[in-house]
């Protein structure tokens, strides 16, 4: 275990060093471009809703649409072949190549042909196969796999490509600039296209009513691949089918914006082949148009696990994916390491796990599924609204369930009251059962803090469960938040208009009790009657380890504990954004609808609640404003929390702080990089710090360097605490009235 962890850490470090800079520059560029481009699109949300609805409908009716495509394509004069799996698809294309005695095959970028390794099969048939997309061409020369869905060679810099080309092709004059490299590739590939016997493309979409394929490209290579040779083979997953031609429109508006931040790419090609352009025979010197347009077209629709995904309630959504790469570009970890660390055999980035589990099987999805921290930043970026972290959690859970029996289970006996299989990885089990540990740690504090901090125990923890010793451990409080509230002797507001339970999440209850107390004082100052009962932990910790059954147990306990309060008209105020996100999001998957709804409708993030109270007439004068912030100063640098931003709650905090006289500068990086247990794990510690570095840079820049740092999430606070010299604070601590002692 320990050596496997350090191998993984080594590999991540190596990729960060060699590919990290290029990936970071490109992925962040695409990501920023996306924010700008979708902001320019009127009705962005309406387009997303439509895109989602079209995909839901198409996958629902898929068998019928496949038949419709077949009819439409055959009516146009083409052929449709539905291939069961990779071998079947490859056999079909190979036979075509053999029949045509094809010597040269040119290809336009297609992840689906990567999925089935078509190039290798065509080469085995004796064909010269050339990728005409420049990014794919670079990889073909370098003999590497794509590291990104849309920009496959995103990890290579111009200098590296120049070195590669100069070594491989030995051109007369050394290539150096991007122009020279492009001109060389154009020339080289131009000749291949002129010689080509078969052109192979993928398809971004296929329309059932007209048999039209849409290809979204910038370079023009797809057009040449289709136009020049007289035989065109398109390979597309069955999930690419949409019902009607007009259904293409929302996707045309969304796909480039979501992926690279362009409003539209240079070419959206719509082909219902065989097309009427005359094929070009460059060995001939008669006018091209004299050739009768004798063209041959084959559409290979690939199943390869997709129909099973369609039957799988959890993986089905993966089929809605249009492979735009927004999830990867917006992923903080992807920005640091790219697809070569992130993905499986072919697909990379956020949704890759779903694809790999579906088309290559669980094993291919296994390896780096852990890089999804469940931060949820990708969720709002996906143009078809796929809950990508949930798919990753499901795949993780299935992996756990397939795990072999572990060896060291006796060590955590009693610490793991979970629903998971015996073989589940010890590290996962440790983090997944953090609630038990917190209870124990608090009961035995301060001894437990002291023991945990000693060198031998840190070494042991690192070796056995992989808790990196460079990370400070949380310090348990002897008196929990719940106990403090119970023991407290304060007058309660009478005739209060609002009644609220402050949810004692794990961290607030056992570790950061101060922010719980500050929340209680704040709400009471605004006239709310507050309760802090004993409530089960939300299940976030087991969920993030892929322990879905255990998380479900927690969810049921939470609802049982809070039920009476909800019935009595209480609201639920959560301090920890990731717990609120459970109540509003994942609980829908874990609980029956009515139980989920009761809680989700009545739970609020603390500043969302304060904002609501102020809007409804509560007097902010009872809160502490910027002038009496005990030396905090009025200038703040605020980092919201991933899930808080996904739920679009960030503005409530900044609004309340601004009302109280603070000048708030907000971070714009995707994530702090910590995301719960992730940053504690020794194999991911350095990646976590690398991601956090982007936040550190922003908060050390001149306009933020003197500001007090504020953050809402526990893990963000811990990450910032590790990265910055200044000690970060939770915003509620600035707002809450003084303790009355």
């Amino acid at each position: 275990m320990a050596s496997e962890r350090s191998r993984k850490a080594d590999r991540i470090r190596h990729v960060m060093e060699t590919e990290g800079d290029s990936v970071e520059r490109n992925a962040r560029g695409f990501n920023e471009g996306r924010y700008e481009s979708v902001a320019r699109l009127e009705d962005y949300d309406a387009y997303k809703d439509r895109a989602r609805a079209i995909k839901e409908d198409a996958i629902e009716r898929l068998p019928e649409l496949i038949e419709q495509v077949r009819e439409a394509v055959e009516e146009n004069g083409g052929t449709v072949y539905v291939a069961d799996d990779a071998a079947d698809a490859n056999r079909y294309v190979r036979e075509l190549a053999r029949e045509r005695a094809a010597e040269t095959v040119v290809k336009s970028k297609s992840m689906t042909t990567e999925e089935i390794d078509l190039n290798e099969h065509l080469e085995a048939e004796g064909c010269d196969v050339w990728e005409t997309d420049l990014g794919e061409f670079v990889l073909q020369v370098a003999d590497e796999a794509p590291s990104h869905l849309v920009a496959p060679a995103i990890h290579q810099s111009r200098e590296e490509i120049a070195t590669l080309f100069n070594e491989y092709f030995e051109p007369e004059a050394e290539l150096e600039t991007a122009e020279e490299l492009t001109a060389f590739a154009r020339e080289y590939l131009g000749e291949r296209i002129e010689d080509a016997d078969i052109g192979v493309t993928g398809a971004n979409f296929v329309t059932a009513d007209t048999g039209t394929m849409a290809l979204v490209t910038s370079e023009g290579n797809a057009r040449k691949t289709v136009a020049v040779p007289d035989t065109h083979v398109a390979v597309a997953g069955v999930e690419k089918i949409v019902p009607t031609f007009e259904d293409l429109q929302p996707f045309v508006e969304l796909i480039a914006r979501s992926g690279t931040g362009q409003d539209i790419t240079s070419y959206v090609s719509l082909f219902s082949p065989p097309v009427s352009t005359p094929p070009v025979d460059f060995d001939d010197d008669e006018p091209i148009a004299d050739d009768p347009a004798d063209r041959d077209f084959h559409l290979v629709l690939l199943d390869n696990g997709r129909m099973d995904m369609r039957d799988d309630d959890q993986l089905r959504e993966t089929l809605y994916c249009i492979r735009c790469s927004a999830c990867a570009n917006s992923c903080a970890n992807f920005q640091s390491v790219g697809g070569h660390v992130f993905g499986g055999e072919t697909y990379s980035g956020g949704i890759a796990t779903g694809w790999e589990a579906g088309v290559h099987g669980q094993e291919s999805a296994d390896e780096f599924n852990d890089l999804c921290t469940g931060c949820s930043r990708c969720v709002n970026q996906c143009p078809v609204k796929i809950d990508i972290p949930w798919i990753n959690t499901v795949v993780r859970d299935r992996r756990n369930r397939g795990a072999e029996d572990g060896e060291l289970d006796f060590l955590v006996e009693g610490l793991t009251p979970d629903e998971e299989p015996a073989g589940l990885d010890l590290q996962k089990r440790f983090f997944g059962n953090f609630s038990t540990l917190a209870k124990l740690g608090s009961a035995t504090a301060p001894v437990s803090n002291w023991v945990a901090d000693t060198l031998p125990s840190r070494a042991l923890m690192e070796r056995v469960i992989g808790v990196d010793r460079r990370r400070d451990l949380p310090r348990f409080e002897r008196e929990t938040f719940v106990e403090w509230f119970r023991n407290r002797d304060e007058p309660r507001p009478v005739d209060a208009d609002y009644h609220a339970v402050v949810y004692p999440d794990l961290y607030t209850n056992y570790i950061r009790t101060d922010r719980g107390k500050a929340t209680v004082r704040t709400l009471e100052a605004l006239g709310v009657a507050v309760e802090v009962p004993e409530v089960a932990s939300s299940g976030r910790a087991p969920l993030s380890q892929g322990m879905i059954a255990t998380a479900g147990d927690h969810a049921r306990d939470v609802v049982a504990d809070l039920g009476p309060y909800l019935e009595a008209g209480y609201d639920v105020v959560a301090i920890e954004p990731s717990d609120l996100a459970m109540f509003r999001g994942e609980y829908e998957r874990l609980l029956e609808t009515d139980r989920y709804e009761a809680l989700s409708e009545r739970s609020y993030e603390v500043f969302e609640y304060v904002y609501g109270l102020l809007e409804n007439g509560a007097d902010p004068a009872s809160l502490r404003d910027a002038d009496d912030g005990r030396g905090v100063g009025s200038a703040l640098a605020y980092h919201s929390h991933c899930q808080q931003r996904t739920l679009e709650l960030e503005a409530y905090t900044t609004d309340v702080l601004e009302r109280l006289g603070y000048d708030v500068l907000t971070s714009d990086v995707e994530c702090c990089g910590m995301a719960g247990s992730f940053g504690y794990k020794s194999e991911y510690y350095e990646l976590s710090v690398d991601v956090g570095d982007r936040l550190r840079e922003q908060f050390e820049a001149p306009d933020a360097a003197d500001r007090t740092v504020v953050a809402s999430g526990t893990s963000c606070l811990e990450q910032l605490d590790g990265l910055l010299a200044r000690r970060p604070r939770h915003p509620i601590s600035l707002v809450a009235p003084e303790e009355s002692e």
């Binding site: 290579q156 490509i161 039209t212 045309v252 352009t277 460059f282």
Partner: protein, 167 residues
């Protein structure tokens, strides 16, 4: 208020496409000014203007296609809010003439402008259902960022120029 034509022009420019407005009467003169030699092209499917009589090879051989500096072809539609043009291929090779040469001159009639993608797709849907077999929505020159920086002119044209025929 910006007219649809003005909006189209502004957006063409923002996608690196030069624009010249002309009338049917001045068309041939305008075109002679904006093409590079040697030029290939495909007959325009329009009544008011023609490429006949200009020094443009309308039935190129593969070599002439390869050697051409410029290609002139018609656009079926112009999409105002994107600065896009819809190119259709013809048995005479319009697709090829607009794809191989370094410079692509696109002839688009003002009357074929539509305001947005939604209207473009409505029109295209009708055409495709009636048996049309391809259309390329082209926006600006061909481009790549795969070599580490943005470069124009890869497999397709490096420069695009729209000649808009008014009336």
């Amino acid at each position: 208020m910006e007219t649809q034509l003005e909006m189209f022009e502004t957006n063409l420019e923002s996608v690196r496409t030069a624009v010249t407005r002309t009338s049917p009467a001045a068309f041939q003169e305008t075109l002679a000014d904006v093409v590079d030699r040697p030029t290939v092209g495909a007959p325009l499917p329009f009544e008011e203007v023609t490429l006949e009589g200009l020094d443009i090879v309308l039935e190129p051989t593969p070599d002439q296609l390869r050697e051409a500096a410029c290609g002139v072809t018609a656009a079926a539609l112009g999409v105002a809010d994107y600065g896009s043009v819809v190119l259709e291929s013809t048995p005479a090779g319009a697709e090829l003439a607009g794809l191989f040469p370094d410079r692509h001159v696109i002839v688009v009639r003002e009357r074929d402008l539509v305001p947005d993608m939604a209207s473009a797709f409505e029109r295209l849907g009708e055409r495709f259902r009636a048996g049309s077999d391809d259309a390329v929505i082209a926006t600006g020159p061909s481009a790549t960022a795969d070599m580490g920086e943005l470069v124009y002119g890869v497999h397709g044209p490096r420069e695009t120029h729209a000649v808009i025929v008014e009336a």
